[in-house]
């Protein structure tokens, strides 16, 4: 997360949320140009959960994430130019154009992997936590997943092992209620998702995922426990994605979710909600927000210019790095 000196720390949270929103809206706006030739899974609507969770971590903590990874990558401090270059399939991308939007990582920022197969990155994060424990470090591995991943067997295997070994892991579930088009109520019985932690003897909490401060508080408490060697936690943040599962558009015309449900969540839209909160406490006003937006807009323009003008990877490099050269 980017914070400026001498400013209210909550303004930093707002900036991070606003920045993710503006970057993803810029991706959505330009997607029809068909130059970003990879799937994009936007987190618009989920920024409070993303930023609240990542803001509770420090740089040396690690994050693994999913196909919906732009927000985690940015909130943890991933390089924007390299992200855009990756989405544009350029050599300067964080994976040299080999990953696309679903495989963002930035070692310096502690974003280790993002993997699109549901549940796939969960045990990888647990393995990072195991390595921390083996090296006797007090860093924490945060495993970002969606509600559908809690239906995978590997999720339960991972919770069991993390709890058994008291690993410094944090399972952070963004429950946006949908697995593509399939609602949570068609996939899980009625009970809090966080209750699954009870079966694994693990601490848990379920929070309003559109309240950035509530998320930050819950995650910070779990991180403190993990650093102290008290074991892993499961935090479930209830939230909502406003756009289609994959792609730049709104898809409410397809009828898979009711207008009433969408309206319910629009009233809880996280950025506007936090803006009003900060305004009421005189932490932000229109002039300051305009200044923030102008700065972010400049950064976005720079990142798109960088990505669009960056060279493509060489076709001759196609066969490189199938196997590691042994050190």
């Amino acid at each position: 997360m980017i914070t400026m000196t001498n400013e209210h720390p909550q303004l930093g949270l707002f900036r991070s949320m606003l920045r993710i929103r503006m970057i993803e809206e810029a991706i959505a706006d330009r997607y029809a140009e068909q130059e970003m030739r990879c799937p994009v899974h936007l987190s618009i609507g989920q920024e409070a959960a993303v930023v609240g969770a990542c803001s509770a971590l420090r740089k040396t903590d690690k994050v693994v994430t999913t196909h919906r990874c732009h927000g985690h990558y940015l909130a943890k401090g991933g390089d924007l130019r390299r992200m855009m270059a990756e989405i544009y399939g350029r050599d300067a991308g964080c994976c040299g154009g080999r990953g696309g939007s679903m495989h963002l990582f930035d070692d310096d920022a502690g974003v280790v992997v993002s993997q699109p197969i549901v549940g796939s990155s969960i045990p990888v994060g647990v393995g990072i936590a195991l390595a921390f424990q083996q090296a006797q470090k007090d860093d924490v591995a945060m495993i970002c997943l969606g509600d559908a991943a809690t239906e995978e067997g590997v999720f339960h295997e991972s919770l069991n092992f993390a709890a058994l070994k008291k690993l410094p892991a944090l399972f952070f579930v963004e429950n946006n209620y949908f697995s593509v088009y399939t609602h949570l109520s068609n996939r899980q019985p009625v009970r809090p998702i966080s209750n699954m932690a009870l079966g694994h003897g693990m601490a848990s909490a379920q929070v309003d995922g559109n309240d950035v401060l509530a998320v930050q508080e819950a995650v910070a408490a779990a991180v403190t426990r993990a650093r102290a060697g008290e074991g892993p936690s499961l935090i479930v943040a209830d939230t909502y994605r406003f756009r289609e599962h994959c792609g730049p558009l709104f898809d409410d015309d397809l009828g898979y979710r009711s207008p009433e449900e969408v309206d319910h969540w629009k009233l809880r839209e996280p950025l506007e909600r936090f803006r009003q909160d900060l305004q009421s406490r005189n932490i932000i006003d229109a002039a300051l927000e305009a200044k923030l937006k102008a700065t972010i807009q400049g950064e976005i323009q720079d990142a798109f210019d960088f990505a669009i003008n960056a060279p493509a990877p060489s076709p001759a490099s196609l066969g490189e790095y199938v196997y590691a050269q042994n050190a």
């Binding site: 495989h103 045990p123 990072i128 083996q134 295997e157 092992f161 790095y321 196997y323 042994n326």
Partner: protein, 359 residues
Amino acid sequence: MPKTRKLQAAQALREAFEQAMAADPRVFMVGLGASDPKGIFGTTSGLQEKFGAARVIDPPCSESALTGIAIGAALMGQRPILSHQRVEFSLLALEQIIDNAAKMHYVSRGQHRVPVVIRMIIGRGWGQGAQHAQSLEVLYSHIPGLKVVMPVTPADHKGMMLAAIADDSPVIFLEHRWCHYTEGEVPVDPVPASLDGPEKLADGEDITVVATSFMVLEAMQAVSAAAKYGVKADFFDLRVLRPLNLAAILASVKRTGRLLFIDTGWTTYGIGAEVVAQATEQAFDSLRAAPRRLGLPEMPVPASPVLAKSYYVTAADIVDTMLQMANPTADRQTARAELEAIRDRLPFDVPHPAFKGPF
């Protein structure tokens, strides 16, 4: 010459683990049964006592998560060894192996490394049947990014394991349960073996014979027997299935003009199918006979010993095929009968005369 002494392959593996763990604190082991009284067929016995439960983890029954956990730890610089007492348990972890282990180095353009070793033990005999006696090397050999090896000799079990642990790519280490009982000279020191290419076991000019894993031991008998009938084989243990380095084998085929491949798994779509295809593509003009393959028939293995006896390819089948290809007028019936007589001195469904079950 390095100092050696006789060991069984299972003991050679155990020694590789002990030496690698003593030399490098990043090496750790995760395996169901690693600390139990049987110690994964003796390959891990005593290691937990020596290195502690944090480095020899006897884990919950969670193959998929444990594979991902090994991958995550490897990304942080650790060097995990994961063991499956039967290949079939690895099927629960296919997504982790194929999507994560095999691809992270490539997709990150070399920035991530996944130095994991995944041991998978191939069962056979004692009525283990359809889900405890499969040879699934083809599944893994299909995937770029994985290294896939099948050691045969005790020296290779130790040397290839040391090389696999030291390798920065993920290595699928396929052990045949019956090869655990092979006995041979093994270097005392930790000397890694090459993970590049086959080993030539015999020189000959009439036919090129290539086999994998336990079938190398069957083929070895056949190669000796065929010599008595005037057929001298250039004989290879393939050892490394991926990356597949066929240079020496193709050079041999160009000289002999004949190729027989013996798979430990199923013939159709097997490793032999690939080797024969490449030989046909690259040595077509040298071929004097159609290449042949032997391997498992088109069905699962049943448990009943009566049925299972008809299932497996033996040295007798191999010598018969070699003679058909390279000396069709030879007395194949006698050649078969001689090898069958040797075979019939032992029970056919156990790996070693000392074996008393249950595995």
